[in-house]
Symmetry: C2
Subunit: 336 residues, 2 copies
């Protein structure tokens, strides 16, 4: 077991405070005492701890990544990318979960943990640009996602509108005309859902397909069970859809389950596409078509922005990074 500062104090016959004064190189310790403490530090192989480094403004080698939900495969896979790529920066990544709650996100930004970490990467759901702007904490910060594109901080995003347009246009290219959407969030303005809805509507407009609000189903959260319920609701309509664009893969997987239970063939009767490119979709039956943001690129860009922010300090103007995405056409949208 490593020696504690108490062990060192005991060995040197001085107080814990005196040991910490020596560790901190404070000048008021007598040479004799300093020598005694140093000898005890060596004898016990004491490794000066971070608290001392922190008082001197040192780096901790730790960055925090705060995501709404650790158990969501998209965020879990994204977190894994951060963990792996942070090694190249000499950082350990600790992942925190906010559950998208405003108070948790506040706590993150107000720096409860800011003295433990060199920097913070946050994927916010609830916070506003104004709140981010007014944060009291100095910790270098990078935001993920487009929710707060106008906040004066570094951020990395993907083009959600273009991604959603691509997904919807893919369904149109299969000859589908009654294309539903699952995952709108009318109570949240400017978030990811609003951007994906905008992309969906843009693709319909281009194809001269009338927008029908009755087949745009809101989802409070983006879990499998939400997609499952929404798909059942769509199948209960007098004129069910022949295709569905789900705003994430979990919603799509729930929708596929509902279609299976109702005996509808995918893709011949109903084609389904998701968003996120989680690995689960690759192994689902049928395999799930999706828009896959480049998670490795998101992590790479965010870590690079964080590194530059730490180097350049808070005064440097905010920078933006954009990660790419790709369309993965699989069985759930195959030509029948």
């Amino acid at each position: 077991m490593g020696a504690s500062i108490k062990d060192v104090a005991l060995r040197a016959g001085v107080s814990v405070k005196t040991v910490s004064n020596v560790i901190n190189d404070f000048q008021f310790v007598s040479d004799a005492t300093r020598a005694k403490v140093r000898a005890a530090l060596e004898e016990l192989d004491y490794r000066p701890n971070l608290s001392a480094r922190l008082l001197r403004g040192g780096r901790t080698g730790v960055v925090a990544l705060a995501v709404p939900e650790i158990s969501s495969p998209y965020f879990a896979e994204l977190a894994a990318q951060f963990v792996q790529q942070a090694k190249g920066h000499g950082w350990t990544v600790l992942v925190d979960e906010t559950q998208g709650a405003k108070d948790s996100e506040h706590v993150v930004l107000e720096g409860i943990k800011s003295h433990l970490i060199d920097g913070l990467i946050v994927s916010p759901l609830a916070l506003t640009a104004k709140e981010i702007d007014q944060r009291r904490d100095h910790t270098p910060l990078v935001l993920l996602g487009e929710r707060l594109a106008h906040a004066p901080v570094d951020h990395v995003s993907i083009d959600n509108v273009a991604g959603a347009t691509t997904a919807t246009a893919h369904l149109i290219a299969l000859g589908r005309r009654r294309i539903a959407a699952i995952g709108s969030q009318p109570h949240i303005s400017g978030g990811t859902a609003a951007l994906r809805l905008r992309g969906y509507r843009a693709a319909l407009r281009t194809a001269k397909i009338r927008y029908d609000a009755s087949i745009v189903i809101p989802a409070k959260s983006y879990h499998r069970a939400d997609g499952y319920a929404a798909m059942h609701a769509l199948l209960d309509l007098p004129a069910p859809p022949d295709a569905v664009f789900c705003f994430n893969d979990l919603l799509a997987i729930g929708a596929l389950r509902a279609l299976h239970e109702r005996g509808r063939q995918v893709p011949s009767e109903v084609a389904v596409i998701g968003f996120d490119g989680i690995e689960e979709g690759e192994f689902h039956t049928p395999t799930l078509s999706t828009i896959r943001p480049d998670k490795a690129e998101i992590a790479r860009l965010a870590l690079a922005l964080l590194e530059r922010r730490i180097t350049d300090g808070p005064a440097a103007s905010p920078r933006e990074g954009f990660a790419s995405f790709e369309l993965l056409a699989r069985q759930s949208t195959a030509r029948s």
Copy 2:
């Protein structure tokens, strides 16, 4: 923006060290200087940071959970349980990923981050009991899983042998006799795979079914792709199995995908059961039968052990917690 210790020093006209001496309540600061610094601290609304608390042995309110893979749904779902339940203890949980690598697990145990956290919960893959025993770090520690059941530390586990016996007996109860296993790890002794293999063999023995090593397929990692490859290998055998026990759900989902591609009916031709009870299995087609450890209970027990360890100190004898599990019989093992 909050004031830094530097801002306070500037305002009070003293050195940063003097400010930290005042914050630390060191006695050698003159009353006049102390008053000046205190006034500056108040004026600038400086919130004494953790480094000061740490030097005095204070708690950080943060515990770390180190898992082999954040992107594995089992660990992601488990981590979410820890995050949610830790609130009851006043803790924020930060999740770290070791990738099961010995050096990463060492780093965790040797306390690189130990000064940032009140305690550490580790699900180790590579470390041995001896290595745990010899760790130099004082951070209160709780282990998850049975890998290191004989290490002299607090740990929480489930009965892997009983779980595997239950899974295999469930397949036998369906009338299956040629029951394969996917996920053995012959190069690792005493780990989870060895325990699940033992449970599988115990169930066969009870049913007087001969153990056939040719249908026990090793898996280097427990990903969907490993289960997919293993199932293809089993289907290439002259006498393929009529049932498969996969040592985790991801392996089972890969196996189901392979069965689908080879046109085999599940469960009528081949029944499949997994282990972990991840949500993905509930929405797969067919839905996946599994052994579900009580993840909420694992988190509850581990956090309680950690809290007691912090209170009782390192000398208290190690304690064990056992979490329950349940068999979820779904479509992949339905009676045909």
